[in-house]
């Protein structure tokens, strides 16, 4: 059995107390042996979503998982491991087992080159609290400012347009005492995260693992985000079952760079889950595949401009 170190930060005293007593109950039942540790030695962070931004940013850079604890007024954040306070032992156990599965599935941790992922990495760390009132800011290479806070990203209209077109490379976000101009156009932080993922490097994002199978828990709203047929195919495939990045490249026949960017976008937007880290969706009723079906589908796909 693997031993995993966990560190709790920023919890209310009663939540922290509950967490520590439940960890004792969980011992021997979880897939891993859990040890409480300081943040510098921990494999997993157990943190309040209201916590301190710089802790999240520093933790996000490590690429290690975080279990977010939200209070009963918060809406569900786009993060893979979330517990709502007050939680029960079985809920804690289930989340810890999911984290253990994820870590067990990725022992070698093939990490990409982190150098060009700075905006994405900081965004990943900040997304759980992107709804908070504090603003973070970053700049484009041309010096245009892009603000993140209040669940939104605000920037000049032309900056947003270039971002949508995948033309922007951003530096990491950092906290700021200033606010964006009141009239700065806004887009939802989740949509922004999607675009940042799509405009990232061609390699697999450093927080994704080559040997983990991923699936989509929810479709992006392509009506809002814009779409090409390649992405539609990847989404359709990734809601049917989970794929490792290489298997998705192989089965879709699409360039690895496109698949990697799709995975980065989906994970930054909180739509991607590692297989086993959440209950698989109930498949809708399936019917018999009748003769003539493939021919029809092929003809219709050609008609719609999809690869046959």
């Amino acid at each position: 059995m693997q031993t995993l170190k966990i560190c709790d930060v920023g919890l209310q005293p009663d939540t922290s107390h509950a967490f520590h007593s439940m960890l004792k109950i969980v011992a021997g039942r979880s897939k891993a042996a859990w040890q409480v540790a300081g943040i510098e030695h921990a494999d997993v962070l157990f943190a309040s979503s209201e916590g301190d931004g710089s802790t999240f940013a520093a933790w996000g850079a490590t690429g290690k998982p975080v279990v977010l604890v939200i209070d009963d007024r918060s809406s569900w954040p786009p993060a893979p491991f979330v517990l709502r306070h007050p939680f029960r032992v079985m809920q804690l156990l289930s989340v810890l087992d999911d984290v253990a599965d994820l870590l067990a599935a990725s022992p070698g941790r093939e990490r990409g080159d982190p150098s060009r992922w700075s905006a994405a990495e900081s965004l990943r760390a900040l997304m759980p609290q992107s709804g908070n009132a504090a603003w973070h800011v970053t700049r484009t290479p041309l010096g245009e400012e892009v603000w993140l806070g209040h669940g939104l990203v605000r920037a000049a209209a032309r900056t947003i347009a270039r971002l949508r077109a995948g033309e922007l490379e951003l530096a990491a976000f950092h906290p700021t005492g200033t606010s964006p101009p009141a009239d700065a156009p806004a887009i939802a932080a989740c949509d922004f995260a999607w675009y940042v993922g799509l405009s990232g490097p061609a390699r697999l994002a450093p927080w994704l693992f080559a040997d983990v199978a991923y699936r989509l828990r929810r479709w992006p709203d392509f009506g809002r985000l814009g779409v090409n047929t390649g992405m539609l195919e990847l989404c359709a495939m990734s809601t049917v079952r989970a794929w490792t990045p290489a298997a998705l490249v192989e089965a879709s026949g699409q360039p690895a760079a496109d698949v990697h960017r799709f995975l980065a976008a989906a994970s930054l937007a909180g739509l991607l889950v590692a297989n086993g880290s959440e209950q698989a969706p109930a498949l809708l009723a399936r019917g018999r595949v009748q003769s003539g079906w493939d021919r029809f589908l092929g003809g219709l796909r050609r008609h719609l401009g999809l690869a046959a």
């Binding site: 929810r218 709203d221 079952r241």
Partner: protein, 187 residues
């Protein structure tokens, strides 16, 4: 229960009154679609002038001459008996909703419940119009509603008056059908 029966491949557009089923089919059908609209006498439910009482029918002819049939259901619950008649044998279902209409989220449940028995291969796509109206629920709210029921189906904001948006709904549906056929877990 689904697929190509007697050479028929049909896609059903459904959803409440005024969601845009007739408009959507007209946007992508070849030639004039068949409509069965009468003057709308229920201006309380919706202010528009006409409403579908039978069904809409449109078609797309493929290069090999085979035909994709597009059916639009009536939206009013009093014509509910038509839903099952039209839903039977559908290759896929597109549920259209008007986010600015009161109870739009509940309408999602109503139409998903009515049509899920007819959709195989997960072939359900939701198109939501007028999400830009102040205080209208976002597509995320509709998607969360499906999540809560364990249904993973695309929820896309659309304006069905635009042909490109309606085509996006159909393309998405066809991608799902293709994926389930090629990669789905056998029943």
């Amino acid at each position: 229960m689904s697929g190509v029966e007697a050479g028929e491949f049909k896609i059903v557009f459904t959803g409440p009154m005024g969601a845009g089923k007739t408009t959507a089919i007209a946007a992508i059908s070849e030639g004039e679609p068949v409509r069965t609209e009468v003057e709308n006498t229920d201006r309380v439910a919706h202010a528009k002038e006409s409403t579908t009482v039978g069904f809409d029918f449109g078609r797309i002819t493929l290069a090999d001459g085979s035909v994709v049939r597009l059916y639009g259901t009536p939206g009013q619950v009093r014509y509910r008996f038509m839903w099952d008649i039209l839903g039977r044998g559908a290759a896929g279902v597109i549920v259209l909703l008007d986010a600015s209409a009161p109870g739009a989220l509940v309408q999602l449940d109503v139409f998903v419940d009515a049509f899920i028995p007819h959709v195989a291969h997960g072939a359900l796509v939701v198109g939501v119009g007028r999400t830009d109206v102040p205080n209208a629920p976002s597509t995320d709210a509709f998607a969360a509603r499906l999540d809560a029921r364990g249904i993973v189906a695309p929820v896309l904001s659309v304006d069905v008056r635009r042909q490109g948006d309606v085509m996006m709904l159909v393309r998405t549906l066809v991608c799902i059908l293709g994926s389930h056929t090629a990669h789905g877990v056998p029943a």
